[in-house]
Amino acid sequence: MAIQRLLIANRGEIAVRIIRAARELGIHTIAAHSSADKASLAVRLADEAVEIGPAQAAKSYLNPAAILAAAQATHADAVHPGYGFLAENAAFARAVVEAGLVFVGPDAATIEQMGDKAQARATAQAAGVPVVPGSAGVLRDLAAAERAAEAMGYPLMIKAAAGGGGKGIRVVADAAEFAAAFQAAQREGLGSFGDDGMYLERFIARARHIEVQILGDGHRAVHCFERECSLQRRRQKVFEEAPSPVLDHATRTRLCASAVALAEAVHYRGAGTLEYLYDEASGEFFFIEMNTRIQVEHPITEMVTGVDLLREMLNIAGGAPLSLQQADIHLNGAAIECRINAEDPFNGFAPNIGTISALQWPGGPGVRIDSMLYQGYTVPPFYDSMLAKIIVHDESRPAALRRLQRALQETDIGGLKTTLPLHLALLGSADVHAADYHTGWLEQWLADNPPAA
């Protein structure tokens, strides 16, 4: 049954985005918010608001009992988790359904299956989706490891099977280095995890992060092409574009088809993203993980395909079949998203909070703003630093880059420091214009070009 009353269990710009999509569908919106978010834009825009706890996320946005109580009290019939917080918490998804409500997302079992990296990798392999080549099973014996390395080829990575936090990892360029590196990694594994079991994985020196947006209704899935999110700082995406500027038609077709195959193999329901590493040198792509939720960078996909992903999510969750056939979805032009964070790029990206004293968003053709800001709003210190996403769309990548520069120059956010100047500086980089980057590029560029006021 179509959703009538939707509780939004999130905050910030994604809560605003969900409210907009729901209101366009005639759904009554209920913003669940912490005490620190009473004055948020989501609360202002929603039909109704309900407080779920104090400022600390652990006691509000991460508190399933408080959210379920709020849903019952406001007679909600569905819960949208947004991204982050409880969006990929299978126990929460299950609790929502057990309370008789619709969870806007996949089944709890699907979240579990794709949330476990080893299980997701096995599921991908079973669906014929390439994963980063690695050794089968745990290696402890040097001679056996050398044979496995020879079979896999170099460069490769040695990783502690029980590893984490970067411990017990060695990158090996060729066979001559292997034995010493393997033994060193074993010693480190033993010291850090009490286990000298190792496995080998292909090392991709200049990996690009490319991800495919999919939609499924539990029976059928379609893709909405890919996004490239290689510009990252501390593993956080900073600047994203759609489509990827480096895929040729044949590779794009194979990549997107593999994502649909995997989505259909798990009978995926809702919006999801399959993340891949792309090795530009060899033209190979490898599945790394799936996000079983809407993503921050979804607007660039909406811009290049014309598909409203949030609307589709809500319709599917309400029980409707996918409204789209694959042949209906076309790539049109290029879109770019810049994340505007409350961080000072001239001071080590220190968090910056304050009250928005002036606010001028860009306008004109092909510009979209997804933001939680309004003039006079005081940014709370308790949550993520992302304030806004500036998104542009144009007929081609070069045109979109020019439009982005124009849009960023029109933007004025007063009262606190943001990463806006970082994005303007990035547009001065020849590598960005040539799309000649990889996941390590931005940190290297920042080291080589320290932002100066």
């Binding site: 620190a36 220190a350 909070i353 210190p381």
Partner: protein, 80 residues
């Protein structure tokens, strides 16, 4: 007997421990040196150490572990 307030320069969430299962940086009754860390303030998922400018004996914490703190708020009181 003089007392000095240790004030958080930042708003955010105050923690008395470096990790949920770690011991507190300092307890009431402890004598600490100038520059000693007494807690962390989390602002937008980044952590800053809160240190005492002067040495002394901790008389009280006014903000508990995991509680919200405002910029300028007294976190702890030292007897110097």
């Amino acid at each position: 007997m003089a007392t000095i307030d240790i004030i958080s320069p930042l708003p955010g969430t105050f923690y008395r421990k470096s990790a949920p299962d770690a011991p507190p940086f300092a307890e009431v009754g402890d004598t600490i040196a100038a520059g000693a860390v007494i807690g962390l303030v989390e602002v937008m998922k980044q952590y800053s150490e809160l240190a005492a400018d002067d040495g002394g004996k901790i008389m009280a914490f006014h903000i508990e572990d995991g509680d919200a703190v405002e910029a300028g708020q007294v976190v702890a009181v030292l007897e110097v």
